[in-house]
Assembly symmetry: C2
């Protein structure tokens, strides 16, 4: 009886997944190759698929089937595939059915309008023109959070969309301890007399050779071009279509080698996670990624802990010099390595280095809580932003464009999304420390151009788990300890103290 219900539930979820993965192909195509005038029709296609998916997923039969499997022998072992699937389908089903369809549509509509308004406002540095849209979106997201419900504070409901099970309280606690060590550490580095010569990264790096180098690096770390593609878009992204098909994009800047190089490694990290999910569970939570934070831990690890490491460049620098001969022939490995690890106080999050990046997130995390709780009025966001930013960075944005207008997230209604970036950094350091413990010669392997041991470790410990554990538990299961700022702080200190000659 319950087995039959479970089989039916799987069948329905498989349908929902196929619709979602179809939309993923259309979304990829829209951003990569769609002709310009196809956009109106594409919006119709995607709106239809999104409605169809919602209709299938929130059908009362799903609720009935869940009731038939919950509390049965299927969930006896809470980390068995069936139990995990039931747990996570229930979570998503409750969320999806609690929100009135009208509210979903209103958010979707406001999202489109507000994003367009944001583009204009950012261009003209005109927060006031964006304010009514932001106010509307905040109001809607508060309604959404109320509809979904929460245990402690209202922001929990939003955070949970991107980091299931995480609470404002626990994230705040980790961020606070982290910040208390990070802020003085950042100051030390910024005051260090030693500075890298970053101009060497801004020499001429021909795009066609960047492409060859980037694809070589992606292939070397394990991105399988039989199961994916690398294309060019204005905003780089990774999209998993389904088993055997995960695609990444990048953008090339002829006068800045970093963007495509580390961007490609970052997106490759996301793709390796997607492609490493257990195929036998495709279509069910057991075959899906845990959270945005865990996803980001994978991209960040390959981008920073691998791609910006000395052992990595010991292996790849000769190839880089050969590929970018005009730019790098006279540059020493140590100078290149220092340059790609430049740390500086900057206003723009997406351009931030791996040390200061986390402070950018903390600014947003704290503001978002105030915005959603109502303590910060939308009109007061610019002032609140600048105050908070100054206290962490010691510099004050001169314009809102450099401040609260820089990111699209709020216009898109993505409150609760930002913290997952810093959580990703924290997870990545804690996982990487454990991986190094389990594979003691990891540095030597990187120096030899071998990355399969690390990838194998990630596959075994993280990718193959699907959603068996929520992020908090996954960290504990994999590393034996709950999430802490210490591994990331230790990693940053070990790497950047000698680079900058600080103690």
């Amino acid at each position: 009886m319950s087995k039959q219900a479970m089989a039916e539930l799987k069948q329905l979820m498989n349908e929902v997944t196929l619709i979602g993965s179809t939309a993923a192909v259309l979304g990829w195509d829209e951003r990569v190759y769609m002709p310009r005038n196809g956009s109106a029709h594409r919006a119709n296609q995607l709106a239809y698929l999104s409605g169809l998916r919602h209709e299938k997923f929130t059908a009362p039969v799903v609720g009935k089937l869940l009731e038939q499997v919950e509390g049965t022998a299927l969930v006896k072992d809470p980390i068995s595939a069936d139990a995990v699937n039931i747990r996570e389908i229930r979570r998503a089903y409750d969320k999806a059915t609690k929100v009135p369809k009208k509210l979903v549509e209103e958010i979707a509509h406001t999202e489109t309008v507000a994003q367009n308004a944001w583009v204009e406002a950012r261009k003209k540095n005109d927060f006031k023109s964006f304010l009514p849209h932001l106010e509307k979106m905040i109001g809607l997201k508060i309604k959404y959070a109320e509809a979904v419900g929460y245990d402690e504070v209202i922001y929990d409901a939003l955070l949970d969309d991107y980091e299931p099970g995480a609470s404002t309280k626990s994230v705040t606690a980790v961020f606070k301890e982290f910040r208390e060590e990070l802020v003085p550490f950042v100051k030390k580095i910024l005051n260090a007399p030693k500075k890298p010569d970053v101009s060497i990264l801004e020499r001429e790096y021909p795009v066609d050779r960047q492409r060859i180098f980037g694809e070589a690096v992606a292939a070397a770390i394990g991105f399988p071009f039989s199961d994916g593609r690398l294309d060019v878009t204005v905003h780089p992204f990774c999209t998993g279509i389904g088993p055997g098909d995960c695609r990444i994009t990048t953008r090339y800047n002829v006068r800045h080698v970093n963007e495509a190089l580390f961007g490609t490694m970052h997106e490759s990290g996301h793709a390796l996670y997607e492609l490493g999910l257990p195929r036998e569970h495709y279509g069910m939570p057991m075959g899906d990624a845990v959270s945005l934070g865990i996803h980001e831990s994978q991209s960040r690890m390959w981008e920073n802990m691998v791609g910006r490491s000395k052992p990595f460049w010991k292996h790849f620098y000769a190839l880089a010099q050969g590929t970018f001969h005009e730019a790098l022939a006279d540059v020493k490995l140590d100078d290149f390595y220092f340059a790609v690890n430049d740390v500086r106080a900057s206003y723009i999050r997406v351009e931030a280095d791996e040390v200061t990046y986390n402070l950018h997130i903390m600014v947003r995390f704290e503001l978002e809580q105030g915005i959603i709780s109502g303590e910060i009025k939308p009109k007061d966001i610019p002032a609140a932003w600048n105050e908070k930013f100054t206290s962490y960075f010691g510099i004050t944005p001169k314009t809102d464009r450099e401040g609260c207008l820089q990111d699209v997230h709020w216009a898109a209604g993505l409150f609760g999304y930002f913290p997952t970036y810093a959580l990703g950094n924290l997870y990545s350091a804690q996982f990487f420390a454990k991986a190094k413990q389990d594979i003691p010669d990891l540095d030597e392997q990187f120096e030899a151009g071998k990355f399969d041991a690390l990838l194998g470790w990630l596959r075994k410990n993280i990718h193959s788990q699907g959603q068996r554990y929520r992020s908090e538990d996954l960290v504990k299961v994999v590393t034996g300890k709950k999430l802490s700022h210490k591994p990331l702080m230790a990693y940053l200190e070990k790497k950047f103290k000698p680079l900058y000659g600080v103690k």
Copy 2:
């Protein structure tokens, strides 16, 4: 009441169209950019969409709504948009609901298996290994035709899938008259002592420059790159995604300039038709193409009547010589023009010139009728093919690979499809003769690189009509006469007699 039903019917058809156009994106992606290992998942996605589309289209509610609008004031004017939509939805609905789902699935399954068997059989020139699959497919298609029903002969039911309303009898009549003049004409040309030097087309034509030249020509004849793309695939095709989005592909052969050049013009012709359909009727038959034959008339006109014409090359030859300087610097326009109009008896349809091409189709059309009526047993196809081929071409295929194994169509169950290729040639000549009558200086316009008057004429007379008329009627409405072989015969004689110096 009937207006309300009509609105509901439109809503349902719109859904069906969106599902179909979503599958079109996935199909395009599969053939153009999908990573190799994505194919199993893609098959699942497409099977799901195909089932969903069928389910929505054959739902009893569609039949009920049709009954509510048929015989009402909506169909009073039989060529009004509503009447046309009702007529064509009824036709498709009856066909779709008459065929048992099991038979549809069996055909789909056999298609996949038989196509794989065909690939192998063709490679090894082994008809026997293909025979059981072909027998099965023929049996299924006969069952299909019986299920669908027909007025006169069983082959009508299949022909009607691709050329709605056409009958075996009427097509046979036109082909017969055509053949009686074409066969002796072909003989005359083949016996002419004058022959073009086709080796000039087999010099080196760098692929990157072919691409630039091909895109320039496509843009010049009106293919809008804002509403489409040109990509590379093994088998060139055109796919309409929806309003503002129609994509074509080609393939480049560095040692044969014809393939990409005329192939691009051919696919552009298909795309111009798709993009010229009336947008306000998108999703309904009034916004859709008439038939495969009418579609082919558009591709053939741009490929042959424009692309292989002297006025076209008077305009484009200087650009061709500049683009392919090494290949064409010493070649005179007249010699190039003669070479691209080479006529020869050949075994392979897809390589045939515009004169003999029609005979290739007639061979297939006659064999198909015998196969479906049961007069020709599947095992006797090779002998029947060779006999028929010899009688039309005067040469006999030495292998089945050059004979009945050359095309994929029968393996794919596409009986009734071939005649639309020759019908397309016939329509194109009859339309083109009328266009020349309406626009007397068409040649001068081509010489000046202007193609908008022809495109405008096609849009007004053909594209914008959607499915208002079935093909037979469309020809009458546009040209004032029923379909005849005379315009095509006259066109061929006027063009090829002076080229080959025959009378």
